[in-house]
């Protein structure tokens, strides 16, 4: 779980992205929860970093949930044209944790081979 407590400048945000991906690979974490409740500004760069973290950790078999977005940030993101696709969001940490658990749980349930897998095997 990561909480971002200050407004990051670009270099710091890039470092955070790299650190998270490294940690996921090192620990084999299945879920990442990013708390941005203390972040007052999400511009296109920060939005892209959050999206990237989601996509990169998905490649490492981990799910990302972003929690605690301020309403003003949500309004601004949409008007900016950046709807943050590709990451799950939840209102707060508790709900985010529940969401993460349910995503990971359903993934475990659906690991039986489906038709596509058979085709590849043939």
């Amino acid at each position: 779980m990561i909480t971002i407590q200050v407004d990051l400048y670009d270099r710091l945000a890039l470092d955070l992205e790299a650190d998270i991906v490294k940690m996921v690979s090192k620990t084999g974490a299945q879920g990442i929860l990013i708390d941005i409740s203390a972040v007052s500004i999400v511009d296109s760069f920060m939005g892209r970093i959050i999206g990237n973290i989601g996509v990169m950790s998905k490649l490492l078999d981990a799910e990302t949930v972003v929690v605690g977005m301020q309403p003003a940030v949500a309004i601004t993101l949409v008007e900016l044209g950046l709807p943050l696709k590709g990451v799950y969001t939840a209102l707060n940490v508790e709900k985010g944790m529940d969401l993460l658990r349910s995503i990971i749980q359903t993934e475990v349930d659906t690991t039986e081979p489906d038709e596509d897998d058979h085709n590849i095997a043939e």
Binding site: D43, R48, L80, L82
Partner: protein, 138 residues
């Protein structure tokens, strides 16, 4: 109606580390004219986009922060000036999804949507000057 400038402050932005203090200064000004939180966030996000462009493409520059008034309305005017390479095709740069860098191409068009007034002047080889205004209740 004419726009009167009430209070001004010049701030150089030449390094990435200048961005957060700059954003905080803009916020201070916005709070001073009692701008609502949503408009504050829009203004600061717009400022952040433009200042990043200035750093990335214009090698840094200066920002003039002003409290302006037009009739009963108060607002914040930000003027970003750089001496960078300039923008070859402004209408193209204002299109969603266009970028000469590696970004999403949302900076300029997105910024335009977030503020009330947006003006851009650019001359190749001389630099770029962008002015935005956000009214306190606009």
């Amino acid at each position: 109606m004419t726009i009167i400038s009430l209070n001004k402050d010049n701030m150089p932005v030449v390094r990435e580390q200048d961005v957060v203090p700059f954003r905080n200064r803009v916020k201070e000004y916005a709070v001073r004219i009692k701008m609502g939180l949503v408009n504050q966030t829009k203004l600061i996000t717009a400022a952040s986009e433009l200042v990043r462009n200035m750093l990335r493409y214009g090698n840094g520059g200066e920002v003039l922060i002003e409290i302006v008034s037009r009739g009963r309305d108060n607002g914040i005017r930000l003027t970003f000036t750089d001496k960078g390479p300039g923008i070859a095709d402004i209408s193209l740069a204002l299109k969603d999804g266009f970028s000469t860098g590696k970004s999403l191409g949302l900076g300029l068009p997105g910024t335009k949507r977030l503020v009330n007034e947006f003006d851009i002047k650019s001359e190749l080889g001389k630099g770029t000057c962008i002015t935005i205004i956000k009214w306190a209740n606009g």
